[in-house]
Amino acid sequence: MAVYAALVVAVVFASGTFLLLQRDLTRVVVGIILVSNSAVLFIISAGLTRGAAPILPLEDEGASDPLVQAMALTALVIGFGVAALLLAMVYRLYATHGTIDLEEIAAAEMREAEALERTDDPEREEIPVEEQDPGDGPR
């Protein structure tokens, strides 16, 4: 049983890792979901015991471990919330750039940054600030 559990966890974790390394952001999110679910599977398999339901077990029979289920539920909820957050971020990037390819987004940002350097940007420091001052440019 432990071997099968380990095998399943390994396959899920590995596929998640493979997806994490993709350029497509939705695949990255799916990868994270898979990886976090492999952790849930790992928690379950950390307490693989057979026994009665752990609600008020009778004295003579052993109960199965309730703690791993509580942990797995907590981890699932956390993973769900974070996945939603990540998807919102991906949508936000898609809405501005029209693409979810990480390299295309980076390229678009480079173009924007170059455009910003030429124009007014109070956030950027050093050189642009000097350039934007038309009044005192003795150089």
Partner: protein
């Protein structure tokens, strides 16, 4: 009963307040001020808790009135309260700073409060899984914070930050599940006592997994790749929170899990820990020197600075752990000061930045000197003469390099006054100045800090042996 309430307050106040403030518009000034007041109350209760802990020893309670060993235990010892107090201090300063500048996001105050609640919660827990839950609360809030102001590069940085740190969290969760599997308990003290009797070969794998997870949080050299992009993209107070408060999870986790729960495995891998620390110091310093942008320099400097913590951890023992705690505290204050000062202009800011830079370089009278001295002392206490020589050389070279990059930044940014630049709001400058003043005060009168770090190290060595 009094202790039971007291231990809940530091995390409880910001938590409840965060839930309440989520319903109102955080851009209004009073909302930010209420949030800051909540943080101040949390800090006050932490100070009180620290006094109780120092006088009467570890404060412990079990949540929900469950019998001991069944319910989730909350435990406040010197190590936890030290980290919690310094983290909340940095978060409070960042909050006040942002309120002075004008909050631009309605969710900003509740998110900052949630980071504080998560951090204090994880520092004051005695349960490994509870640690993970609080850790996720603060991490998730900080993922959102990293995208503060919604510039595109910030959202992308937040995405990278979230993905990399989630991977770290999952690895940590697997480590906890593995600890549960081999010891059958989630209580840190029970795990610590049970791992002692296990075959070290089975525990060392788990220890390595947990170590990797915390190094990822800390942004240590081979796990640092996400850090510069995030710190450079973030708004100054957010960068201060991430680097000054959130990074403490890594340092605390390494101390708690490495020094407190798995001390034998830590001693086993101390050479590897020291090598990683060394690589981090050298890499961070060299990269920082070659950068121009202030926040980029400080981001790489952060990678280098955590190397010292790891070095002290690798040395181990009472001296090493004291140095690691001391250095973590000083480092997070340093980072708070420099990141906050880097976002402002005007009188006082240059002075505050100079104090932060002095402190990073380890020049007296700033508190960084105390931290460096402690690491230095720990290094000399090492057994073999070769290691001592190497460590001493490394600490000197590292300090010299950090002196170099700190003052390169200072020179470029503050020494040459430019015409036509508006100074930042006075309140924000005063916040930065008072944080720098704290750094200076701790450098001039370091006894309380040294005593606290010593007590924190005692917690670890007491639990380990």
């Amino acid at each position: 009963m009094r202790d039971g309430v007291l231990i809940v307050l530091p995390a409880g106040i910001p938590w409840v307040l965060a839930a309440l403030l989520a319903f109102v518009d955080g851009r209004k000034r009073w909302v930010g001020l209420v949030g800051a007041a909540g943080l101040a109350a949390s800090l006050a209760s932490l100070v009180w808790l620290t006094l109780v802990v120092l006088r009467e020893g570890t404060v412990e309670t079990v949540a929900g009135g469950w019998p001991e060993g069944v319910g989730i235990s909350l435990r406040a010892d010197a190590l936890g309260v030290t980290f919690a107090a310094v983290s909340v201090t940095v978060i409070l300063a960042s909050m006040l700073y942002e309120v002075a500048l004008g909050v631009r996001w309605r969710a900003f105050p509740p998110l900052v409060l949630l980071v504080a609640a998560g951090l204090t919660g994880l520092f004051l827990t005695g349960d490994a899984f509870n640690f993970y839950v609080f850790f996720e609360i603060s991490m998730t809030a900080s993922f959102v914070l990293a995208g503060y102001r919604e510039e595109d590069y910030q959202v992308r940085a937040a995405f990278i930050f979230a993905v990399v740190n989630l991977l770290g969290s999952v690895v940590f969760l697997i480590g906890i599940a593995a600890l549960y599997s081999i010891t059958g308990s989630l209580d840190m003290a029970t795990i610590a006592s049970r791992t002692d009797s296990l075959d070290p070969r089975s525990v060392i794998v788990v220890a390595a997994v947990i170590f990797a997870a915390f190094c990822l949080k800390l942004g240590l050299f081979p796990f640092h790749f996400w850090l510069p992009a995030v710190y450079v993209g973030s708004h100054p107070p957010v960068a201060a929170i991430l680097s000054g408060a959130l990074a403490n999870i890594g340092g605390y986790g390494l101390l708690r899990f490495g020094g407190g729960i798995l001390p034998r495995e830590l001693a086993y891998g101390s050479a590897a820990v020291m090598v990683l620390g060394t690589a981090s110091i050298v890499y961070g310093a060299l990269q920082a020197i070659s950068r121009r942008d202030t926040s980029e320099v400080m981001a790489y400097s952060a990678i280098g600075q955590v190397g010292y913590i790891l070095l002290a951890l690798g040395v181990g023992g009472p001296l090493g752990f004291t140095a690691a705690v001391l250095y973590s505290v000083v480092n997070s204050l340093n980072k708070g000061v420099v990141f906050l000062a880097a976002g402002l202009r005007g009188p006082f800011v240059g002075a505050a930045f100079a104090v932060g830079a002095f402190s990073i370089a380890g020049v007296p009278p700033a508190a960084g000197f105390v931290g460096k001295i402690a690491v230095f002392k720990a290094a000399i206490a090492e057994d073999s003469a070769v290691t001592v020589a190497l460590l001493v050389v490394l600490i000197f070279v590292g300090s010299a390099l950090s002196f170099l990059y700190s003052f390169q930044v200072y020179q470029r940014r503050f020494l040459a006054p430019r015409e036509g630049e508006k100074p930042g709001p006075l309140a924000a400058r005063l916040v930065v100045l008072s944080l720098a003043g704290l750094l200076l005060a701790l450098g001039l009168w370091p006894e309380p800090l040294i005593y606290l770090s010593g007590a924190a190290a005692e917690v670890l060595t007491g639990a380990g042996g």
